[in-house]
């Protein structure tokens, strides 16, 4: 049986075949679909966690209880989960534990392009890197075997091109005969007090040496000898690109990128005249190969920044005068003559964030932003975001800014954060803001879903990953419990009320929270979002003033006219009837009906 699966679907399948009992994650592109696909395997207890640290800690508990556990996240999520990860390296596992880190070279949907192979070296744990969907499934199974055999968590690293590419995967039956989970006490191994941890550290070093030696014998680290002139060490999607553009070159394809199999690398180096390393982002393999005294060429000819492509690799080798590589010329723009209007993503028609950012822009607020759909509030015409660092950063950033600027400027500082991001890592920031009395305003954009990653449930949405009704965190009450005295809720579709609430709270010389209460227009669950009656522009009344264009709604189309003022038109198919544009029209040209 064969199926076409994405890398993410294949990892979910691999977890099922490996007999995984518990799977946890916080959504993040490009990793999100792994857990969404795991829900189809009823044998697996799958759930979203409020953040990646909690996800890993739940996974660790399941592993200590004797079950196989899968934890998945995007690359920056591992920063959040790093604390438990580094100590888990010392304790080792009960049932196998695999942590998937989905990296995003080129930053298709991320704020940085950190190379998480460095985490494997830093935390001293093995890392596997698949090169297509078939390997995603097979390496997931293998990762659980390695985890138990070497008593270590195993990192499985994908990149966006692996997570979101589809290819053919042969399916297998799940493994049978795994031991039943039960409580096992082993405090000397699992309680990491200094005395116990000092005993564990040398074992970690020993483990990584053993894994390096074992790596030289593994099938997934594979020498493919062709010509003897050029030898290339590579892994992941870069391997596919190398095979595509340099079919004559010999390759050492690494399935395990940490620890490196140095015996095998030496053998390969001895069989080729010139050794190259082709890897995306950091010179992770190259530096270690060179430190081992083996000459290799890598980042001298290949970029550190951004994704590799077949074209970049071919050009790099052509310039290095490697036989068989011919220059390709990027033709982008050449055939087009004039620049084309860009088509950037934008907030959906009816998005409840739109009115808030319009008001923040009008009030000239200094907005410390956060991670979510609302980060698009940075884009014109809303143009109302001044900082964006990482999940949950907006509130701490606001506290820091108000600590240092003059009293008059403090009023302008507003932190903006979504419901899911607030519960991810924003709560501690708000606790600090109150505790240390920083007089900033926090806007919690509660749209009742984790929208940017494709509408996942969160602790304030009232449902779980598997669609079970759940306790819904009361966000305004939570803020009050943290000590915020001024908590108010507004309807972001009411522009005047939103502007007034913001103005009042910005002028208040103490911490305050405004919760905007409107669901995401994409939430499909019945009774959450309901479309209102569609709006229309009465052409005879439209003065062509463009006020309605200031909210950047995709449903409002500007129709220019020769020699006189243009007019706005509302696309009836796109309009959700949110009514925000009507409130902006001084001419009274926008309304319902004909």
């Amino acid at each position: 049986m064969k199926e076409i699966l994405s890398g993410n679907e294949a990892i979910a399948r691999g977890a099922f075949e490996a007999g995984v009992k518990v799977a946890t994650a916080y959504p993040g592109t490009p990793s999100t679909e792994i857990l969404e696909n795991i829900t189809r395997y009823k044998e697996i207890d799958s759930s979203w966690a409020p953040n990646e640290k909690v996800a890993l800690e739940v996974g660790i508990g399941a592993s200590f209880g004797g079950a196989r556990a899968l934890v998945t996240m995007k690359h920056v999520g591992v920063n959040v989960a790093a604390d438990p990860l580094f100590t888990l390296s010392y304790t080792g596992v009960g049932g196998g534990l695999v942590l998937v880190t989905a990296d995003d070279p080129e930053m298709h949907s991320s704020q940085n392009e950190q190379d998480n192979r460095n985490y494997a070296k830093f935390a001293k744990v093995p890392m596997l890197e698949p090169a297509d969907s078939r390997e995603c499934k097979e390496f997931t199974r293998l990762a659980f075997e390695l985890s138990e055999r070497f008593d270590t968590p195993v990192l499985l690293r994908t990149t966006t091109r692996i997570s979101h590419s589809k290819s053919i995967v042969p399916l297998n039956d799940p493994v049978a005969g795994l031991p039943a989970p039960k409580l096992v006490r082993n405090a000397a191994k699992l309680v990491m007090l200094p005395g116990n941890a000092r005993v564990r550290h040398p074992l970690v070093e020993e483990r990584i040496s053993k894994l390096s030696a074992y790596g030289a014998t593994m099938d997934i680290n594979r020498m493919e000898l062709r010509g003897s002139e050029v030898g290339i060490i590579t892994s992941g999607v870069a391997y596919q690109y190398v095979r595509e553009v340099l079919p004559e070159a010999s390759t050492l394809k690494l399935g395990m990128v940490h620890p490196l199999p140095f015996d095998l690398i030496r053998e390969f180096a001895a069989r080729v005249q010139t050794l190259y390393v082709v890897e995306e982002l950091d010179p992770f393999i190259e530096e270690q190969v060179r430190a081992a005294g083996i000459e290799a060429i890598g980042k001298e000819i290949l970029p550190i920044c951004g994704e590799l492509t077949p074209g970049i690799i071919r050009n790099a080798f052509a310039k290095a005068s490697v036989v068989g590589a011919n220059l390709v010329f990027a033709q982008e723009g050449q055939s087009q003559g004039l620049p084309l209007p860009s088509r950037p993503p934008s907030m959906c028609p009816g998005c409840p964030h739109r009115g808030v950012f319009f008001a923040l822009n009008q009030l000239k607020a200094y907005v410390t932003g956060d991670i979510g759909c609302y980060t698009l509030g940075f884009m014109p015409p809303l143009s109302a975001m001044d900082t964006c660092i990482c999940m949950g950063a907006s509130i701490g950033n606001a506290t820091g800014v108000v600590k240092v600027v003059a009293a008059e400027e403090r009023k302008q500082v507003v932190a903006v954060i979504g419901d899911s991001t607030f519960l991810h890592t924003g709560v501690a920031g708000l606790m600090d803001m109150v505790w240390n009395n920083a007089p900033a305003t926090v806007v919690i954009l509660d749209n009742r879903i984790t929208a940017m990653t494709g509408r996942q449930e969160n602790p304030a949405s009232g449902f779980t990953l598997t669609d079970q009704p759940a306790y819904r965190v009361d966000i305004p009450e939570l803020c009050r419990v943290l000590g915020v005295r001024n908590v108010r809720t507004v309807d972001p579709y009411d522009l005047e009320a939103t502007r007034k609430a913001l103005e009042e709270e910005m002028n208040r010389p103490e911490p305050s929270v405004i919760v905007t209460d409107r669901p995401c227009v994409l939430v499909k669950r019945e009774g959450v979002f309901e479309k209102g009656p569609v709006l229309t522009v009465f052409a005879e009344k439209c003065s062509g003033c463009r006020a309605c264009l200031k909210i950047g709604c995709p449903a409002i189309v500007w129709e220019p006219a020769e020699g006189r003022k243009g007019k706005a038109v509302i696309d009836m198919l796109l309009c959700t009837g949110c009514d925000v544009c009507r409130q902006l029209c001084k001419a009274g040209a926008i309304g319902r009906g004909k």
Binding site: T309, Q336, P381
Partner: protein, 190 residues
């Protein structure tokens, strides 16, 4: 057999990904190797979408290199122009003539090129515009543009049209199957 490179371009929400899936599943059903890639995440929010489908005996890279596509299928004229450089010399372009304004144009910050089709013609000698939206509506659903576009290139693919029909039938929900099949046929006749 040389690898056959297909690039599908469009706007988030137009069904580029489903069209890609139909082609990939069809290749699998024909016993060929296939890889498909697209970058999504931002796709739902009206952004530009590009997807690659590569079919052959053995396919390595999941992405198509600029200058190497055998065929470019674009669901929108501006997106055809944006990605026409993916075509190899002599490559074929089929595009839906119905335009969709980018947000930059809708808000009056940029202008949609009025000569978009002329420019497509200058960039590609083998370019064909079809009225996919009208054909989809005729088939029973404006959203079936993606199936019209797949239909329009079926004769150019190394895949049997009957196999494509079978895949469309299989992955469509009950009611949708007939509409999708009509859209596929409408596209093939365009």
């Amino acid at each position: 057999m040389k690898v056959f490179n297909i690039v599908i371009a469009g706007v988030g929400g137009q069904g580029v990904l489903l069209a890609s899936r139909v082609l990939a599943e069809s290749a699998l059903a024909c016993g060929m190797d296939v890889k498909q890639n697209e970058v999504h995440g931002m796709a739902q929010r009206g952004g530009s979408v590009i997807s690659f489908v590569r079919i052959g005996e053995r396919v390595y890279s999941p992405v198509v290199m600029p200058g190497s596509a055998d065929i470019l299928i674009s669901f929108e004229p501006l997106e055809a122009l944006r990605y026409v450089h993916y075509l190899k010399p002599g490559g074929k372009l089929v595009y839906n003539r119905a335009t969709i304004n980018p947000s930059t144009v809708a808000s009056g910050m940029a202008t949609y090129p009025p000569d978009v089709e002329e420019r497509i013609g200058r960039a590609c000698r083998d370019a064909h515009g079809i009225d996919a939206l009208a054909i989809a509506k005729e088939a029973g659903n404006a959203k079936a543009v993606n199936m019209v576009m797949v239909g329009s290139v079926m004769k150019n693919l190394p895949i049997d049209a009957k196999v494509v029909e079978g895949v469309v039938r299989e992955i469509s929900r009950d009611k949708g199957a007939e509409v999708n099949l009509r859209a596929l046929k409408g596209g093939a006749a365009a």
